[in-house]
Amino acid sequence: MGQVHAVGLNYESPVKPKTNQDPTFPANYGFEERGETRRERVMIATKDEMIAAKVPYKYRDFCAHKYIQFKACARSVYPIVIKCEHERHEWEECMFEDQTISRKEFEREQRLLLRKQRKERIAALKEERQKAFEDTAEAEH
């Protein structure tokens, strides 16, 4: 009862992105230099369609069009909903892609934070070394 599937990596990262907030780095940071932008996500089901189909608030995301199609199919063959497995699988695939994007966002955030930390550490070390050099140079004179 209440089994929990622990999913995670085996190492503890020194930086932890906040999973309840949006990413802190701009979405196209690092892409402009390569001459690219990230593709914007397009919403296929309009607001009115979602309201008319009475989509639950939880599912009013970028996969709502698949949800609506699945529900329409199920309604037509009710109660043998197994006949709509194809539509349901399409919806589930869309949700999986959505989750994949979220996980990639997390990984991107983590790597950018690590990079930032690394740069700060290098800059701090350089400053220390410069200071030490200047102190010894002064001492010699």
């Binding site: 979405a27 690219e36 593709r39 994007i101 996980r103 997390f106 990984e107």
Partner: protein
């Protein structure tokens, strides 16, 4: 909206207590005699809109707390003939509220222990909500129509 009508048993208009409280001594004596009390015991409820007219106010002795081995005239009610009924006597019968029961703990302790346990469990539930055992490594889902731009990870060349 529910509208309920309570039927509190058989009720006779002739036996309704009069709504005028007795003021003079003779009136009080007559009322006491009517209800089967001695004049010294006759007291009424205060007349502030929640009273019962000239019906007397007597101590509550609930059915369960009356002696089960004594000889009553009516053993089912544990009542003798002519004994005045309390206003809420149908509430204090043997199968209902027992007003005279003595508890090991005071009523305040009853409240403290109940709400104490509930509060303790509520604190456990709340702290459990804060700590995440399964730390899913994913940023919040993209919610459309919230004024922000959402991007996927497919790239396209800059125009």
């Amino acid at each position: 909206m529910l509208q309920t009508v309570r039927h509190g048993g058989h009720w006779n208009a002739d036996w309704m207590p009069s709504l005028k409280l007795p003021k003079t001594e003779e009136e009080k004596k007559a009322a006491a005699k009517k209800y089967g009390l001695i004049p010294a015991d006759y007291k009424t409820y205060p007349d502030d809109g929640t009273g019962y007219g000239d019906y007397p106010k007597i101590d509550i002795v609930s059915g369960e707390s009356r002696d089960p081995h004594a000889l009553w005239d009516m053993p089912e009610l544990k009542r003798n003939f002519g004994e005045p009924f309390h206003v809420e006597a149908d509430l204090y019968t043997e199968d209902r509220v027992d007003y005279n029961r003595k508890y090991q703990f005071s009523k305040a302790w009853h409240h403290y222990s109940f709400f104490g346990v509930v509060a303790f469990l509520a604190v456990l539930f709340w702290t459990g909500e804060q700590v995440k055992i399964v730390d899913v490594q994913q940023m919040p889902r993209h919610v459309p129509y919230d004024g922000k731009k959402h991007y996927s990870f497919e790239t396209q060349p800059l125009d």
